[in-house]
């Protein structure tokens, strides 16, 4: 491995990224320790566990996890591995359980992880204490406004501190619900991308690629009667060009004036004429609850947020919650959900889901082309020994607070933090 993967020269405005960081098995192994074992990693949303006993099984930073609500109502993230010989004790995707029973030898656990029953206990000595053999929880589990994160580093700062400026952007999502209750909508999109996981971090916030990668989506929107020209500058909350922002601790976001519609709450022709009144009503509720300025901030801007290292909240045509984990240097598993206010009416929910699919997901009009772009990058990276560096200097000659969404300032935020954490581990 080389010494430095990110070389930045602020005097000459150059920012070079070693392509070895995107192809090397040794880098991936080090990332597991330096990034995934030290950062707060998204697990799931409280709304996925509505009832006591509800559970969801998933992988978090490579570990099998049972995300569940116990009999008393408390939320846990238990490592899904029997204390006896290691089998997963819950093998269903989701459901409601009174207990988790290991199928191998029948060890049974309470929904809070406590070991309840061991078949044939007489074969164990007097020193065997069931209290020592409960399912092991992730070392830290905390939430911010119902978004639950795990951390495998007991010494890490609290989640609220870790999230830094990202909290404000999570608030802009959660405040869309009159009761502050957003929910994960049924139907999960789980798909692989044959590319390094960090390429999806970049892609999630890269507005430079919009005209070239998403030509057919732009054509579709125009054809559906949506005005895709950016609005004029005057009187807007943000510059019409949009910006890319550093939120601290490696978190970053785009922040753009909306001109392509939002279920909360900006009407476009795709929603249909009969939705106009309903969108206005949603808007009125926002204004009444939060005031004119805050309502406009929520309803009239799009934001693609990355919580370092691997959670994207895309608040645009709908709200996407997307997380992704590397399984090889050139492959990642992506999981994506749609998020919406819990109190949406059936018509509002249908509109949100429809809007989601215009752009997002493995059958959307845009996401498959993003995937194609990332896979093309990964193919090109095979020449990393000769073509060793990627250029990430776009916008660098401008001040840090003048970075556009089409610049790469926000992506440099990610890479600086990544580099800093990688340097901490030998």
């Amino acid at each position: 491995m080389i010494e430095r993967y990110v070389i930045e020269d602020r005097a000459r405005n150059t920012f070079s990224l070693s392509r070895e960081a995107l192809v090397s098995p040794a880098v991936l192994e080090k990332e597991q320790r330096a990034i995934f074992d030290t950062c707060w990693i998204y697990v799931g949303h409280a709304s996925e566990l509505a009832q006591r006993g509800d559970f969801r099984t998933r992988y978090v930073a490579g570990r099998p996890v049972i995300f569940c609500r116990d009999k008393g109502g408390a939320i846990h993230a238990l490592l899904n591995s029997c204390r006896h010989r290691g089998a997963t004790v819950c093998r269903e995707r989701e459901g409601n359980a009174r207990q988790f029973m290991c199928m191998y030898h029948g060890w049974t656990y309470e929904t809070d992880g406590a070991l309840k029953n061991v078949p044939g206990p007489e074969a164990y000595g007097a020193a065997f204490d069931k209290r020592n053999f409960g399912l092991i929880a992730v070392p830290r589990l905390e939430h911010y406004r119902d978004f639950y994160f795990a951390c495998f580093d007991r010494a890490a700062p609290p989640l609220a501190e870790y999230l830094a400026g990202a909290k404000e952007y999570i608030d802009l999502v959660v405040d869309q619900s009159p009761s502050g209750r957003m929910e994960i909508i049924a139907g999960v999109q789980e798909y692989d991308v044959k590319a390094n996981w960090k390429l999806l971090v970049e892609n999630s916030v890269d507005d430079y690629h919009l005209p070239s990668v998403h030509t057919t989506w732009l054509n579709y929107m125009r054809s559906a009667g949506v005005n895709m020209r950016p609005p004029k500058e005057e009187g807007l909350l943000l510059p019409s060009k949009g910006s890319g922002k550093d939120l601290g601790n490696g978190h970053l976001t785009t922040d753009n004036v909306n001109f392509r519609g939002r279920p909360v709450a900006r009407w476009i022709s795709i929603y249909g004429e009969d939705a106009k009144g309903d969108i206005e009503a949603i808007r009125r509720e926002l204004v009444a609850r939060l005031g004119e300025d805050r309502a406009a901030r929520i309803a009239d801007t799009n934001r693609n947020l990355v919580v370092f290292p691997n959670l994207a909240l895309n608040d645009g045509s709908s709200v996407t919650v997307r997380t992704f984990f590397p399984v090889a240097p050139d492959r990642m598993h992506v999981t994506a959900w749609c998020l919406g206010p819990a109190e949406e009416t059936p018509a509002q929910r249908a509109r949100r889901l429809d809007a989601f699919l215009t752009f997002y997901g493995p059958g959307g009009f845009a996401t498959p082309d993003d995937v194609a772009a990332l896979e093309a990058v990964q193919q090109g990276l095979a020449a990393w020994r000769e073509v060793g560096w990627s250029d990430m200097s776009r916008g660098m000659a401008k001040p840090a607070d003048a970075q556009l969404n089409t610049d790469e300032g926000h992506m440099r935020v990610f890479w600086r933090r990544w580099s800093e954490l990688m340097d901490r581990v030998r």
Binding site: A186, G187, V188, Q189, S223, P346, P362, G363
Partner: protein, 167 residues
Amino acid sequence: MSDRRNTASTTREEVEEFLYREAALLDAWQLDEWLALTTADCGYYVPPNDKPDADHRSTLFTVADNHARLVERVKRLKDPSAHAEYPPSRTRRMIANVRIAGGDGDIIDVAANFVVYRFRRGGDRREYVGHYRYKLRRENGTLKIAERRAILDGEELGALGAVSFIL
């Protein structure tokens, strides 16, 4: 004009012939000709892998197109800027176990199994396995697709990656 002839007067052979012709058009990327097989109110759905029986109005689907969106999807797929499908994937569809599953009024419910092989350069071979549920309707004597649901068997899309072509 819809036609009152329904399930009773439609044979499996006729339905099979129709589905084979449809498959051939899709494999040949004759997408306009394929679109002509659909009714003006046709819906095309690919449900999510974890909720294959769900309703697209309350569950996030992979694809949930009304006819207008389907027309746009075909337009997109013919454009070289649809990067995920340029150059177009080579596909080969195997349609089997075709059954007339029922009917209601002028609608004929048809079920069939599918394996769709999709090839791209670099040894990229993906197998989409599942079943179709069609609602067919006669217009001026010929069968048309009023609804088309491609339901995948995989627990997740996983290595299939995307449903970027018409499945």
